[in-house]
């Protein structure tokens, strides 16, 4: 006699269930995470304190959280357009880097100049860089039918190498003691704090704006409808005359543009110069954010905050608890799996079957 586990589709799913699932997933992930911390010989209570309470209560840390959520929000909003259309842009990290390089390039070219036009120009350049870079996988898919999953992913590594080359070669700061980094940006090229003594800058406002626009686009616009139709039922989209290739290109441009803008905001508002590794994998993390938020703009906004709390918490946990940063990566993965599992269990119910054979 053996046991067999089967997934049986549920017939109806109550609204309460749908609302409670992500919350429950978070709790489960916290419990498992706590268990791991405990097994590593640290106090789970202390870890929760550092990971969750501090970033949410300390005003300085809270600003850091909002700053960290800014690129995540911008990138994941863009990714929602791709993913809803069933186009798989895995290369937001590369588009993010290109945005940083284009924006940073403007900052370097205008070094020593000042004027209120520099920042907007950097933003435009950043968005443009991301768009151009995202257009490559879209064009390859449209023209040759090459999987955008592979091309967008591989272009991330190209972007990393390009950044490496620039900061070691043509854009290296001559007074930088041979460190691979560009000149520090002047004030005119850096996003300034929104209020005295704080750190939060206009990038965060832009991210919130992107969320609002995305909500409107998906709720009320023909384009939002076309994206949804193209993802859910390509034949119906074809019947409606929504051009499949044009949709591919446009969703990639939107997502690349937002990722590029995020990259510019990161170098201008956070780093203050170009240097390798400013991407920090945020472009990949944003994929998790988009799915945690169930591909809805509001959901992406909320999960950007959740993930940002974890990232900030992880930084201090490294210092105060000597917990490795990889634990955070692990925890993010855990959270995603918990949410996806919760969603599957909403749609299917587990059934044990006795088999007599």
């Amino acid at each position: 006699m053996s046991f067999n586990l089967a997934l049986v589709p549920r017939r109806e799913v109550s609204l309460l269930r749908q609302v409670l699932t992500p919350v429950l997933a978070l709790v489960v992930a916290l419990l498992i995470g706590g268990l791991i911390v405990w097994m590593m010989g640290r106090s789970p209570a202390k870890a929760f304190d550092v990971f969750l309470r501090e970033p949410l209560t300390d005003p300085w840390a809270l600003q850091e959280v909002l700053l960290k959520s800014t690129p995540l929000m911008l990138i994941s909003i863009g990714l929602i357009f791709c993913f809803r259309a069933n186009r798989w842009n895995i290369g937001a990290e590369g588009q993010f880097l290109l945005g940083g390089m284009f924006g940073g390039g403007v900052a370097i070219a205008t070094h020593g100049l000042s004027g209120p036009w520099i920042l907007p120009l950097m933003m435009l350049a950043g968005a443009l860089g991301g768009m151009l870079y995202a257009a490559i996988p879209a064009a390859l898919r449209n023209r040759f039918g090459i999987s955008e999953i592979l091309t967008s992913l591989m272009l991330v590594y190209v972007a990393e190498l390009l950044l490496d080359y620039l900061v070691r070669g043509p854009w290296r700061d001559p007074k930088g003691f041979n460190f691979p980094q560009s000149v520090p940006f002047t004030d005119a090229a850096q996003l300034q704090p929104l209020f005295e003594g704080g750190r939060l800058h206009a990038g965060f406002v832009l991210a919130l704006l992107a969320v609002l626009v995305a909500i409107l686009v998906f709720r009320r616009s023909l384009f939002g409808f076309a994206v949804k139709a193209s993802g859910e039922a390509p034949r119906a989209a074809n019947f409606a005359g929504f051009n499949e290739k044009r949709i591919t290109l446009v969703v990639f441009l939107i997502s690349g543009g937002l990722a590029g803008l995020a990259g510019m905001i990161e170098v201008s508002g956070q780093v203050g110069q170009l240097r390798p590794g400013f991407g920090q994998g945020l472009g990949f993390t944003a994929i998790i954010v988009a799915f945690l938020g169930r591909l809805s703009p509001v959901g992406a906004m909320l999960s950007s905050f959740v993930i940002a709390v974890l990232l900030i918490g992880a930084e201090s946990a490294q210092v105060s608890l000597k917990l490795p940063f990889d634990l955070t990566r692990f925890f993010m993965g855990l959270l995603l799996i918990a949410v996806l599992a919760g969603e599957s269990l909403n749609r299917y119910r587990l059934e044990f079957r006795k088999e007599t054979a």
Partner: protein, 506 residues
């Protein structure tokens, strides 16, 4: 009659406020072929899905061979000897017939032992199937036979068939009936859903009639006329089709000139040198067995697909061969594709949103932001004009019964008041009254000066609607001839053998 196989008592199932089944009682005996009749949305499919374990009833009990059972899943239903053949095929296109039969038989593979068993079964029931051909090379009738053979391999004591004949030619349907007769003689009970009352009277010895989820009658369909059955189903007499008043024909609105189209995918049929003209004011029908190039023809006319290799498509005097579907809509054309779910509609989208699909390019639905009020109004108008029965005010397309969704799709296009209407399978799966309504609407549209092109495999439909008929066979289209100049036998011959060169020249 043999012993009782199934007894359903007091089965009730509600979707929100709508009672799809309301205290339904039904008994099925061994050896009986039992028809389940009712207008679109009466609750037939719902009841059968409950019996097959796909839906759970809110209340009521199911007894199988006298035992009270609960059926939480189709596996449980199969274990109780219940088999079901769905209206839509569920075969893997690239697998052979034998492989497709092996898949649901747990623990079996397509080996010699299974082949022997399948061959024996097929012989026994007179089901001719080439087991080694991949499914994509097979006709609809052959696919249907695989579905049935697959269900038979599980030795069902009860077989449910939900509208199995809508895709079959008359000959194929006759072969299916012979199979079902044999099966019933051997003691199985069969539940048969169909909107074609003549075949119900040919096949079934009892009929349960549902209306609004309730059983309204149980009768012997042979003892009453088809008209009486129809009256029981819809509550009042079905109107006859009113021929349009005599009217003059106008300019040609659709013209196909030597059109050749590459086959769609590996399963497709190439179109060769098609000529056809449809004038304002007339209804032209394209008859033919499904799979002879109708999908390719439809796609080439609508602009949804079809790689045109030669020739031209002209609409309202303009060459549209290289223009997309919306450019064609802008010239006054409207299209009803064959697949109503997933092509004509977005399954998860509410009916209001589904208006956008075919309206956005030509009708004003708001400038920057979609005008949800207007969209909702259009949907409501279609729903009331075409008597679409919905479970709620604005349900998702997938929540409508098959026939009701068809009514919505046709209505949505008519509501645009097109000058040229192209309809693939206008009354597929709709009940007698709704079929008449749809056909009448199309005739009236033509009488008001629109050109109407109907693609249909239903010979009766073609005969009552069309002014002229052309027949599709193997990617060729016969010349369109006036209905009066063609007999059913002649059309049948064209459908199976195509047009001989001598006749084509005539």
């Amino acid at each position: 009659m043999g012993p009782e196989r199934i007894r359903l008592s007091g089965i009730t199932k509600a979707f929100g406020a709508l009672k799809a089944n309301d205290h339904v009682d039904l008994t099925l005996h061994a050896g009986e072929i039992h028809a389940l009749l009712g207008e679109n949305g009466a609750g037939k499919s719902t009841l059968m899905k409950i019996l097959y374990g796909l839906l759970r009833p809110d209340s009521g009990e199911i007894r199988i061979n006298g035992q009270r059972v609960s059926l939480p899943s189709p596996q449980a239903a199969r274990a109780q000897g219940i088999g079901m053949v769905f209206q839509h095929f569920s075969l893997f296109e690239d697998f052979t017939a034998l492989e497709n039969i092996a898949i649901p038989l747990e623990g079996r593979i397509a080996d010699a032992a299974l082949r022997a068993q399948v061959e024996a079964k097929a012989r026994h029931f007179g089901l001719a199937i080439d087991l080694d051909r991949p499914v994509h090379t097979l006709s609809a009738g052959e696919r249907q036979r695989i579905e049935i053979l697959r269900a038979l391999m599980q030795e069902p004591q009860v077989l449910i068939l939900d509208e199995p004949t809508s895709v079959l030619t008359p000959d194929e349907a006759e072969a299916l009936f012979a199979t079902l007769d044999t099966l019933a003689e051997e003691g199985a009970g069969i539940l048969f859903i169909s909107h074609k009352l003549e075949e119900v009277r040919r096949l079934c010895s009892r009929a349960t009639i549902l209306r609004g989820g309730k059983v309204v009658a149980e009768t012997d369909p042979r003892a009453v006329s088809a008209a009486e059955l129809a009256a029981l189903m819809v509550g009042e007499g079905v109107l006859d089709l009113r021929p349009a008043a005599a009217h003059a024909l106008g300019e040609p609105l659709l013209h196909l000139d030597g059109l050749s189209v590459a086959p769609e995918g590996v399963h497709g049929v190439a179109l060769q040198d098609i000529h056809l003209t449809v004038q304002a004011g007339e209804v032209v029908a394209i008859a033919g067995v499904a799979g002879n190039g109708q999908s390719e023809l439809y796609a080439a006319i609508s602009g949804e697909g079809g790689r045109v290799t030669a020739g031209r498509v002209t609409m309202a005097g303009q060459d549209v061969t290289r223009r997309d579907i919306n450019a064609r809509r802008a010239l006054g054309a409207a299209f009803v594709p064959e697949a109503r779910l997933g092509q004509a509609t977005l399954p998860q989208g509410p009916l209001s949103e589904n208006v956008i699909l075919s309206w956005h390019a030509t009708e004003s639905l708001g400038r920057w932001l979609l005008d949800k009020v207007r969209i909702g109004e259009v949907a409501r108008t279609v729903i009331s004009r075409f008597d679409v029965r919905t479970p709620s005010a604005d349900p998702q397309a997938a929540q409508l019964s098959g026939g009701n969704l068809q009514k919505y799709v046709v209505g949505r296009e008519i509501e645009r008041q097109p000058r040229l209407m192209v309809v693939d399978q206008p009354s597929w799966g709709v009940d007698a009254r709704a079929a008449t309504h749809i056909r009448q609407t199309l005739l009236d549209l033509a009488a008001k000066g629109a050109a109407v092109l109907v693609i249909s495999q239903d010979l009766d439909e073609v005969m009552v609607m069309a002014d002229r008929i052309a027949v599709m066979h193997g990617g060729n289209l016969s010349a369109a001839r006036p209905v009066s100049a063609l007999s059913r036998a002649e059309i049948g011959l064209l459908m199976t053998q195509g047009e001989s060169p001598a006749r084509g020249a005539a």
